[in-house]
């Protein structure tokens, strides 16, 4: 039985301490140890983006990060995207634009889009599509997702 490692990190701005085996991915620990099931398990091999989280504000596939790697770092999951008691503008726009159907890819898309708009507040359609190339969706054809991100970008720029 591999020895467990004690890890300290910030998850959604909360200081967290957990122990895990070195072979466990961040995705596994978030979901199975910490009960944060909003980050979804799909391909589990870095090809679909359903498990996108922010690691020190960089979007990563949690299935490709070992849990021990987040020692001393800050992770934001979908649970940490919404402000207390409300919805992030991106979440709001996903609802308004019917940008989800089954919804399994949605948390990943929202986290990825947050990272996009943090860096590029006025992205072109092409920029949006290429940024989101690592997030697969099988239900929507991406049409309403892109529109939701475009609309959210406009709203966020207006608020500044």
């Amino acid at each position: 039985m591999p020895n467990k490692v004690l890890v300290h990190a910030l998850i959604n701005k909360n200081p967290v301490e957990f122990s895990c085996e070195p072979r466990q991915s961040l995705l596994e620990v978030l979901r199975d140890e910490l009960g944060l099931t909003g980050t979804k398990l799909a391909c589990n091999s870095g090809n679909c983006g359903a498990c996108t989280v922010l690691l020190d504000s960089l979007p990563v596939n949690a299935c490709l990060v070992l849990a021990v790697e987040i020692e001393g770092k800050a992770v934001t999951t979908i649970e940490g995207i919404s402000p207390a008691g409300g919805l992030h503008i991106l979440q709001q726009k996903f609802l308004e634009h019917t940008a989800l159907q089954c919804g399994i890819c949605t948390p990943g898309f929202i986290v990825s889009s947050v990272a996009l708009l943090d860096r590029y507040p006025d992205p072109s359609e092409e920029q949006i599509r290429h940024w989101l190339a690592g997030n697969l969706c099988r239900c929507t054809g991406y049409v309403n997702i892109v529109r939701a991100v475009q609309d959210a970008a406009t709203r966020l720029r207006e608020n500044y």
């Binding site: 398990l41 979440q91 609802l95 089954c102 099988r138 054809g141």
Partner: protein, 757 residues
């Protein structure tokens, strides 16, 4: 984006409210099968065959059982013996055996990835390690992967006892041909003799998968008292219950299936794979809950993709542009066990066109690939691809505009479908008209190697058994309950139909999908049937509820029931009036108000669609870029237009993947080489343009609100439309799916275009 909208005005139907539960999905709170967690839960893993075809000589599980943390190991020996049951049900018994053999291989493994054994352990890592410790000795056999080869004499035989349905002459030879279906009308020889142009081509399509993101998963708890509870990702909770009952030989009433939110299905989550395994492991491990989640490579290699096919089609038309005859020979790969969708394909292939003389032969052939399952209009996209390419060729050779040619030959109400049924009110011509009038059709293309293609298609949609029940609360709100699994929004479309029927606000209805213990029977959410068939149940339920309310009010008012009227949310009899809410408050003090309804509609309104696509082909790389896509579809009546548009866009995108990139790539020995999203390439965000859905509404007479199924139709035209656009762009007629860059280059080089320097 509507045209031809229906005349009647609805209060709720035709609007696009946000579904309350969607807030859970954007915040990560919605619970899918993968999210289930129970106290003291074990994790399961499956041993799968590395061979495409082999006899199992022995399985030794002792080392696996000895690994610390392992609580149970199962093989086919743990499945109940079905010999007697099969003997008692006759021919259909063979299907029961196939079902069991697919769950856990018994004598032979029949495809790479075929399950042989399963393990439950205290965590998923130990379970995976234990699987590696199971020792199997195989006698490796020669596999056969191609349908034409499988039908040849001397081909490796998958099932020693399989006899072809075509062998009515008594020929009892071993075969891989499971069945042969034939549809015929008129005299094709005479028909071809009348043609001034005849075109004939042989097409091939590869195996493709539904490509849902959430892998198959199941959590089972088999209690010591013999009650089995299953949480799973499925389109049909009652279907799962029925299958598990058969496989494990326990009564369905002792099985409770709880359908979780589903992360994509598209037809691939009807058949069970993990549920019986998790149940057996739960029982064998001392009645602990066991959770099993497939890896993505397991999903691709060992669930149910759709059939690869070889299709030869011949069509003839006269100089007036009328199709005079058509023949088709469809050979479909069923995978390891019989029952590909070739029969369905044979029935819909020529359905949009008036053809007096046709002959369609469909062959269902087993090969050493996973057992095929349904995929959005099963078997149809690759079949219609062939027909639409030939239609394009005929119209070009005869000098007709492609939409005009289809209009000339398009079916009308009263015409006969290929299966002999008569078309009721249908909207094919309306979709052609809407496409022709759409600005897309006449926008000029500006650059070299750009081309425009069109294609049409037909899909029958499904009926099936549905039920729904409701209870009225004291404040006038209604709890609506159904067993119809909500894949992408039917909770809301059903609530909307009930709101419309009852004349109450949509906000006053809460629709829930509950487990098999808590609601009446429903067939799975397949065949684009939920808004249609369960909608009929909901409509009937609404009528029943209003009737019940009328009766109760008649008692209160001391008038005959027939005198109580209801309109615009108000009950009245003479001068007396009460609103729906007021009545609810009064009645809640007395006998609870509950109602239910059940249906099994067989009269189903079919769909038609016509799509337009512009492409640009790079003659150096063979890559096809999609410039513009317009998808016109007759939906009967769009209950929730935004959802309908989403269905069209999603279906088109799957059709695009099928057309351009997706295929299973096998090594010679039958190992699947690309079981991952990296190499099984589905469309990504930069791959597709804004797809414009155009809703045409020709109400179906077989639904009270005119609904036709919408989900499947638009996966059908894309391969044909894209092929026709590629022809317009670079002059090659593609005969293969997918039309990936390498294949387009080969076609260009064969035509004499120079290879890159």
């Amino acid at each position: 984006m509507q045209s031809n909208s229906s005349q009647s005005s609805f209060r709720v139907i035709g609007s696009s409210p946000v579904r309350p539960g969607d807030a859970d999905k954007v915040s990560g709170q919605a619970l899918y099968g993968i999210d289930v967690t129970l106290p003291d839960m074990l994790f399961g893993a499956v041993l799968r065959s590395p061979h495409a075809h082999a006899r199992i000589l022995s399985i030794d599980t002792r080392q696996a059982e000895a690994l610390p943390g392992v609580k149970a190991v199962i093989t086919a020996a743990d499945l109940p013996d079905l010999t007697e049951k099969i003997a008692s049900v006759g021919k259909w018994g063979r299907y029961l055996q196939y079902q069991n053999d697919n769950i856990l291989a018994c004598d032979k493994v029949l495809y790479y990835g075929h399950a042989l054994a399963a393990v439950a352990a205290t965590n998923e890592h130990i379970a995976s390690e234990a699987v590696e410790l199971i020792q199997v000795t195989y006698e490796v056999l020669q596999p056969v992967l191609d349908v034409e080869q499988a039908m040849q004499e001397g081909a490796p035989i998958l099932h020693a006892d399989l006899r072809s349905g075509a062998n009515k002459s008594g020929n009892q030879a071993q075969t891989n041909l499971a069945s042969h279906v034939q549809l015929t009308r008129g005299d094709v020889e005479k028909g071809f003799a009348l043609a001034s142009v005849i075109v004939e081509r042989e097409f091939h399509s590869a195996t493709v998968h539904q490509g849902y993101l959430e892998p198959q998963n199941a959590t089972a708890l088999f209690s010591a008292s013999g009650q089995l509870t299953i949480w799973c990702s499925t389109q049909g909770s009652f279907s799962v219950r029925g299958q598990v009952a058969e496989i494990l030989q326990i009564q369905p009433v002792h099985i409770r299936v709880i359908p979780m939110e589903v992360g994509g299905a598209f037809g691939g989550k009807n058949r069970v794979y993990l549920e019986p395994l998790a149940a057996l492991l739960s029982r064998k491990s001392g009645h602990k809950p066991v959770k099993m989640v497939m890896s993505h490579s397991e999903v691709l290699s060992a669930t149910g993709p759709t059939s690869a096919s070889a299709i030869r089609v011949k069509m003839g038309a006269d100089s007036a542009g009328r199709i005079t005859a058509a023949t088709a020979r469809l050979v479909y790969a069923a995978g390891a066990f019989p029952d590909s969708p070739v029969g369905t394909a044979a029935g819909v292939l020529f359905a949009p066109y008036r053809i007096e003389n046709f002959l369609v032969d469909g062959y269902d052939v087993v090969v050493n690939k996973p057992w095929t399952a349904s995929y959005r209009a099963p078997g149809v996209s690759n079949a219609v691809f062939t027909c639409e390419v030939l239609i394009d060729e005929l119209s070009e050779k005869l000098g007709f505009d492609p939409l005009e040619f289809r209009m000339l030959n398009g079916v009308h109400e009263g015409d006969q479908r290929p299966d002999g049924q008569e078309y009721q009110r249908i909207g094919f011509l309306e979709t052609l008209e809407a496409a022709r009038k759409h600005p897309h059709y006449t926008t000029p293309l500006s650059a070299p190697h750009q081309g425009r293609g069109v294609a049409s298609g037909f899909w029958s949609n499904g009926g099936g058994r549905s039920s729904a029940s409701a209870s009225l609360n004291s404040d006038g709100s209604v709890n609506l309950v159904t067993g119809s699994v909500d894949l992408t929004g039917t909770r809301l479309t059903l609530a909307m139909q009930l709101a419309e029927t009852l004349g109450i606000p949509i906000e006053d209805i809460k629709a829930s999908v509950t487990d098999t213990d808590s609601t009446g029977f429903a067939d799975g959410s397949w065949g684009s049937r939920t808004t249609f068939a369960t909608g009929q149940a909901v409509y009937k339920l609404g009528q029943n509820l209003l009737h019940l309310l009328g009766e109760r009010l008649a008692e209160i008012w001391q008038v005959p029931t027939e005198q109580v009227g209801y309109a615009d949310g108000v009950f009245s009899a003479g001068e007396q009036k009460l609103t729906f809410k007021e009545l609810a408050a009064i009645l809640s003090e007395n006998v609870p108000v509950v109602a239910s309804a059940a249906v099994n509609p067989t009269d189903v309104g079919p769909s038609f669609a016509t799509h337009i696509v512009d492409v640009e082909v790079d003659p150096e790389t063979g890559q096809t870029r999609l410039l513009r896509y317009t998808a016109v579809q007759d939906v009967g009546k769009a209950i929730h237009p935004a959802y309908v548009e989403g269905q069209i866009q999603g279906a088109v995108t799957q059709g695009i993947g099928w057309a351009l990139n997706e295929e299973y790539i096998y090594a010679e020995g039958g190992r699947l080489l690309n079981p991952s999203f990296l190499d099984y390439r589905i469309p990504t965000c930069p791959d597709v343009p804004f797809i414009e859905p155009v809703i045409v509404e020709v109400p179906s007479p077989s639904h009270p609100y005119g609904v036709r199924g919408v989900g499947e139709m638009s996966i059908v035209p894309p391969p044909g439309a894209i092929a026709n656009a590629i022809y317009a762009a670079v002059g090659v007629r593609m005969e293969v799916l997918p039309m990936s860059p390498g294949r387009i280059l080969e076609a260009l080089w064969a035509k004499g275009l120079p290879k890159s320097p």
